[in-house]
């Protein structure tokens, strides 16, 4: 396994220290305690704090989402495994400013349980919380069982919306219906071309044939719709958008945000070509794209593949999307008015 790392069992700590060395000063980020929790220092009093987190190895998420108008705390577990409750409690405690903590994380068994235990522990300390489980991957369960769907790149948009609400002084209770509506408006589907290697074991996350691709595959190779022969970007993208449009459903006249996410080793060339296809198919549906973001946001080591997320916009969500925001790895920078 050829990677520029040191001890495979210390990648979590070392990537965290490298992130803080790179951006700590610039974003007023500090470490909390011994573990891998990074929080912002300059959070105004009386404001809801936004916390996100999950397994490491998916960078830029979750550390890259820290910054004004985005996340206030990022809690990192080991590579691909949920952070423990005491790390989450430490992060929440450090950013709580009296108005509670809004937690945004992917809908995985380990994350759900650890965040739930942490919220119970925080409640005992008098810190109110809200746990937003992100379930945007339409391949992992039918619409009737949305709560069983895996969390993918919708985190990126939802953290932006929550950060903007907090920045505007919204209460925790006031934020809930808006971020739940935003979650409801998000749909994601991925396609994988190659698997990736887990640093500690050097083993591949899953096996896939030389000329195969899999639509709907999970981040760690959880099976999707099924293996099929490689196809062109245009035809693959069309099939992905068709399924996502039908799932919400998105309707003619809707306005959406489009995220074209690299899963780790996908070239920008391919992302732009997939974005081109996505814009064309959406236009055929009469759906207009308000803004597009192409790049690596939520990855799985050096996995080659592309994830597309659509988020329907209404006037409120659009203005929250445009609220000023800044973060190290270009998470929805303040868009030009």
């Amino acid at each position: 396994m050829k990677k520029l790392i040191n001890d495979p069992n210390r990648v979590r700590e070392e990537l965290f220290e490298g992130f803080l060395a790179a951006y700590g000063k610039q974003y007023n980020l500090i470490r909390v305690g011994e573990g891998t929790v990074a929080v912002r220092r300059d959070i105004p009093d009386g404001r809801v704090a936004v916390l996100t987190g999950g397994g490491s190895g998916h960078e830029p998420l979750f550390l890259g989402a820290l910054g004004p108008g985005m996340a206030d705390a990022a809690v990192c577990g080991d590579i691909f495994s949920a952070p423990s409750p005491d790390l989450i409690v430490a992060g929440a405690g450090a950013v709580h400013r009296g108005a509670g903590v809004c937690m945004i994380h992917g809908n995985y068994a380990g994350d759900n349980m650890n965040f739930r235990i942490a919220c119970e522990m925080l409640a005992e300390e008098g810190i109110p919380t809200f746990q937003l489980r992100v379930w945007d991957d339409i391949a992992s369960a039918p619409p009737a069982r949305k709560e069983e769907r895996r969390g993918m790149t919708a985190d990126v948009f939802l953290i932006k919306i929550a950060g903007a609400l907090a920045e505007r002084g919204a209460s925790l209770a006031g934020m809930v219906p808006v971020i739940e509506r935003a979650r409801e408006y998000c749909r994601t589907l991925g396609v994988a071309l190659t698997s990736a290697t887990v640093p500690q074991t050097g083993k591949p996350t899953f096996e896939i044939g030389e000329s195969e691709m899999e639509i709907g595959i999970g981040m760690h190779g959880e099976p999707g719709v099924g293996r099929e022969p490689m196809a062109s970007a245009d035809s693959t993208c069309r099939r992905m958008i068709d399924r996502m449009v039908a799932d919400l459903p998105f309707r003619a006249g809707d306005e959406v945000l489009l995220l074209v996410n690299s899963m780790g080793a996908t070239t920008y060339m391919e992302l732009y070509i997939m974005a081109r296809a996505a814009h064309r198919v959406l236009a055929e549906y009469g759906i207009s794209v308000h803004a597009t973001h192409a790049g690596p946001f939520f990855t799985c080591q050096e996995m080659a593949g592309c994830m597309i997320t659509l988020m329907k916009l209404d006037e409120e969500l659009k203005s929250l999307y445009h609220a000023p925001a800044h973060s190290p790895d270009y998470f929805l920078m303040r868009a030009l008015e």
Partner: protein, 213 residues
Amino acid sequence: MDAPALIRALALMGERLREQKDWLSGLDAACGDGDHGVSVARGFEAVEENILAWAQLAPGPILRQCGRVLLSSTGGAIGPILATFFSELGKACGDSGEIDTPTMAVMLQASLDGVTRLGGARPGDKTLLDALAPAVDSLRRDADDAVPLRRAMHRAAEAAAGGARETAGLVARQGRARYLGERSIGHPDPGAHTMAIILTAVADAIREEEPRA
């Protein structure tokens, strides 16, 4: 079963889980992400580092401390599950210095309820519950028949091991494996086998000269 026996049990399960680490991870690789054995071994390594400090404590506090350590060092879905399993055992055990069969039955029932509350799983969902539930039933029957703890605990451990083996025939409805649906049949659940190893270690750590109930 007294505090020293409980300490012996924790050390024994830690040792056995470390030996089975790769096997358990292999089971997890079939339907999940292949980290189960590594996570569990990491959790019990942290337990072993703390064991000496707990030698003077009563069983209840030992179990609650064990739960807290597992919570912060295991990781994955299995971390919070095992942490809840041990802390509920500790809460239900109260301050008694000696655990007999009826107390152990109450304790295991409490941990079964705790894990169910945490993960929302039900027996038959192909999870660790499919080893814990049969163990609880077996122990409650033996408690009613006043069977001494060492024998009762061994029968409970065998029920758990049987339950774990039978998970191969079930369709996963929890955790990563659920995304395979039918394709998870034929693969036993790693968490269920971890539970069987834990209960067997508890049984093996109970000395012969336990006073007959």
